[in-house]
Amino acid sequence: MNSDEPHWDGGGGPERLYVITGGRSGSSAKTTLDLVTLIVARSGPRPGMQPEQAAIVRICQRPLSVAEISAHLSLPVSVVTVLLSDLIADNRVFSRPPVPPAKLPDIALIEAVIDGLQKL
């Protein structure tokens, strides 16, 4: 798909998303989860979990960013954050927040990135 050309979606998309999130918009989760917040599962999927939540728990056995979860499950970030906030509340996953914007620019961090890029 082309990133720059939004396509209009006439059909059942929003309805499906409504079902997955139980109709919530996820405004509370959005305040804490960034695109690059790393998510790690505390355990494996449990029987009876909603398929999307089970999938998150399964793919987050190793750290994975919110953006990557969205990409692998083909779900909008706004939907993923709603699912994640429930999983966090239920202690199924935990989050590793990104470096807070207030701390940027951080010279040690930037030097670490420079070192890493030099090795590419």
Binding site: S3, P6, G11, S74, P98, P101
Partner: protein, 211 residues
């Protein structure tokens, strides 16, 4: 309905990263850089050439109230747009991961991903000399938001070539903002663009700490 990309026709039960793409358990902090520019300027190419994973696509939906074009009754209805953003990943060391997001130049899309620019280390403005006016808008918006950025000029064979100082003038860039040439298809060239941004951020950090 198009929420599932063509690359992942399977269900959520089977989707997921390849095992060799897994981050180490020690990955604890992530930072991001935004690659911004007009359509076809080479954002996805740049992300793909330096990323350690095949570029991924994240989507967000935008709901708009509007009158359907073929709706002769003129009834108000809602339509949903899906906007996609490509991104890639570079493991900096065992703890730190850098994500690169390639985002369209139009500001109305930037709001879809909360914190896209706010938490970013900085941005790369990719410039196509055939369509400078697109970059002009992008640069203005980044300046408004105080997002530090460098300018990278992608070298397309049929694009007019200007000396960099002439481009600086044309884009009305402040003297301290780096401007570099690149070929987004080459890993080393794309890496050097990111390096130019980091060196620039380093000078900004030193200035901030000294003041």
């Amino acid at each position: 309905m198009d929420f599932r990309s063509s690359e992942s026709p399977g269900s959520v039960e089977t989707a997921g990263p390849r095992s060799e793409d897994a981050l180490p358990e020690s990955a604890t902090a992530a930072v991001k850089v935004v690659i911004v520019g007009g359509f076809g300027v080479g954002k996805t190419t740049l992300v793909g050439s330096v990323s350690e994973i095949r570029p991924l696509t994240t989507e967000e939906t935008m709901t708009q109230a509007g009158v359907g074009v073929d709706d002769t009754a003129g009834v108000e209805r809602k339509s949903t747009t899906t906007v996609a953003m490509d991104f890639g990943r570079i493991s900096i060391n065992d703890e730190l991961v850098l994500y690169l997001f390639g985002t369209p130049g139009q500001e109305r899309f930037w709001f879809l991903w909360r914190g896209l620019f706010e938490g970013a280390l900085g941005a790369v403005v990719l410039v196509d000399t055939r369509r400078l006016e697109v970059s002009f808008d992008v640069i203005g918006r980044l300046e408004e938001r105080s997002v530090p950025f460098v300018v990278a000029v992608n070298s397309f064979p049929d694009a007019p070539s200007y000396p960099l100082d002439e481009l600086r003038g044309a884009l009305d860039l402040p003297a301290d903002v780096p401007i570099v040439e690149c070929d987004a298809r080459l890993r080393t060239s794309s890496r050097d663009v990111l390096m130019a941004l980091m060196r620039y951020l380093q000078t900004l950090a030193v200035t901030t700490e000294a003041s």
